[in-house]
Symmetry: C2
Amino acid sequence: MYQTVRGMRDFLPEDMRKRKYVFSVMEEVFQRYGFEPMETPAVESFELLAAKGGGGEAIKDEIYYFKDKSGRELGLRFDLTVPTSRVVASKPELVKPFKRYCIDKVWRYDRPQAGRYREFTQADIDIFGSPSVMADFEVIQCSIDVFKALGFKEFKIKVNNKKILEALILAAGIPKEKTLDAFRSIDKLDKIGWDGVKEELEQREVPNAEKLMELIEENRIKEEFKAFDIGKEGAEEIDELFSIAKAMGIDNYLELDLSIVRGLEYYTGLVFEIKAGGKWSCGGGGRYDNMIELYGGRKTPATGISYGVERVIQLMEEQGLFPELKKTEVYVAPVNKDVRVEALKIATQLRSSGFCVETDVMERNLRKQFEYVNAKGIRYCVIVGPKELKDGEVTVRDMVSGKERKVKIEELANSIKIGSE
Amino acid sequence: MYQTVRGMRDFLPEDMRKRKYVFSVMEEVFQRYGFEPMETPAVESFELLAAKGGGGEAIKDEIYYFKDKSGRELGLRFDLTVPTSRVVASKPELVKPFKRYCIDKVWRYDRPQAGRYREFTQADIDIFGSPSVMADFEVIQCSIDVFKALGFKEFKIKVNNKKILEALILAAGIPKEKTLDAFRSIDKLDKIGWDGVKEELEQREVPNAEKLMELIEENRIKEEFKAFDIGKEGAEEIDELFSIAKAMGIDNYLELDLSIVRGLEYYTGLVFEIKAGGKWSCGGGGRYDNMIELYGGRKTPATGISYGVERVIQLMEEQGLFPELKKTEVYVAPVNKDVRVEALKIATQLRSSGFCVETDVMERNLRKQFEYVNAKGIRYCVIVGPKELKDGEVTVRDMVSGKERKVKIEELANSIKIGSE
């Protein structure tokens, strides 16, 4: 028997209905903010995937990398931001702000583990062209609306600023060449805790680790950070973001968290992370003002956020946030082959009235058809028999109550509508 | 500057809106018939892709084939039927009929040419578990509804039967071992014409080529075909299909075409091809009763159809079938930074009323904002100025007529609704 490729999954209808619900809720909110859909190919040149701002040469071990028959080095995209940045870099004519959304699959050659897959879905919104905190705020406001629309009651957008982090490192008296080492260790706080981070900092020979961790744990933008130009800038951006949020009455969703690092080379200013329950973040993003230029485009400020769809769905399941999702509502059952075309006509008529309708495509007897209707959880069964047909009638059976009633065919659509209330 | 991979494309918002419209129209029809969504990974084991009923070893040259870091042979799926058949084969517990739809990308390492890409989208519906012509009919009826819903006025579903073709080959007196050669040549009729096919048949040393071509050109199910068991079966299936279609009043969409071959090893009975204008078919399918068993599953009859989304979209563009598609309707323009939060509040209020709304995230002056609004073709601009705000008012500008009027903020949503009529 053939299997799925290791670390990848099939989505059967029950799962897909949930996924499609989540996608459509997200899309509706994105569109309300004027984000427009865009898609890029699954396959990109390895050169792009490895470009600075993207993954670097080391990415080869972490992605699906291959050559085509002409020897071109290719790979499956590992995120949606890199390909989108390629498009923005190569199309300076795009009207700014360029606001796009994308919900699509990405691939990473990670070690498969619980809740982590090699093929997974990201939902991204990004704004290209604006250096203003107004753009960062819009990305956050839209995200809050998305999580509200999905039904989450408690969630937080954690906020930090790369510039503050840099100033914090300076304030701790850590030499510049140890900055990346320090960031990498702090980034693991969620996974390995304070003690783990401390140990790592010492292993990486980052001096003043204690001081650094104190400043992060204190979780305040201290005056000493603002002594550095970069810290002053960062503090002003955070102030501006929180004050807009406050004026808009949504600052309760925001939370300063100086331990948020995210993408080491990638982000240049404000960074965000969404927590909606559970240990893991279910999305994050921030400002990446250098990327388009690194890809050969004009200098173009950019900010955006990416939601991990699988994690969002998992949390929604845990928190019981899925409504009842639309599926087949009516099954039209011919009692024998002689009336199958009549059954088809009735099914067709009900479909025209907007119902989701199935009929017998198996030529099964009524008992077998009922079994199917029950197995599929279809609410109404319209039984089409030759005797009733002569009177222009059919029998409607409510599969939940088991009650049956005779209905004139021309009144069927209305009758079921009423019945379902 | 980085490029897309050869033969692949980006879909910018203008294209994506069209694509999403087509997807949503298709999905709505699929769901009305009780087809359920399902998705499988982009990457499959090469073993599956090359399995009999799929592509065979030779497929390696036609797909994206690669090995992962553990040496596993993998490939990108070249269609949606093979992965779905894998699922059905490995899950005998799926309730039958199992009716699924899938709209997703597939990849082929074809030579790129006009209108042909290495990444493209298929939309598939399939019914697993039913040997009945009723299932084939449902697939056809649903397809007719899809093409009607997309706005096509003239289209045909061409119908043939693999069994009739086999009988026809026998009737022409062509030896069994030349059957595949004969099929392969006929299959090219669209591309190379009758003369080309004749030439090919002679090159492949298929005897009685003239007779074969006469029978196909005659395009009738002749009594002599029915002399063979297989021909009799095939003729009965075609009769049944056309008579159901006639009873349902949609036989005008069907057309017998004995030159339709499709998938050589793949199909086992009725085959379909959709023509909706232009030279190329924009979809096709048929019955493939052996595939699930070939993949190690229980014998499970199957029938389905696949639409080529890119071709459908191209034809819709040629025929002007796209309606105006929803995009940003209102832009809220703060006249200066002091009123930007007020503008944000008004934008938020309009979004709550269901409008797609943008506001200034660039901190631009009013003239620049108008340029943006015009460039994006946004209909209404709500101008937020400090003086009007004092009176609880804003100015609404209809960007088409250029007319402006003052509106109370609390009446804004209703006012724009009325204005857009």
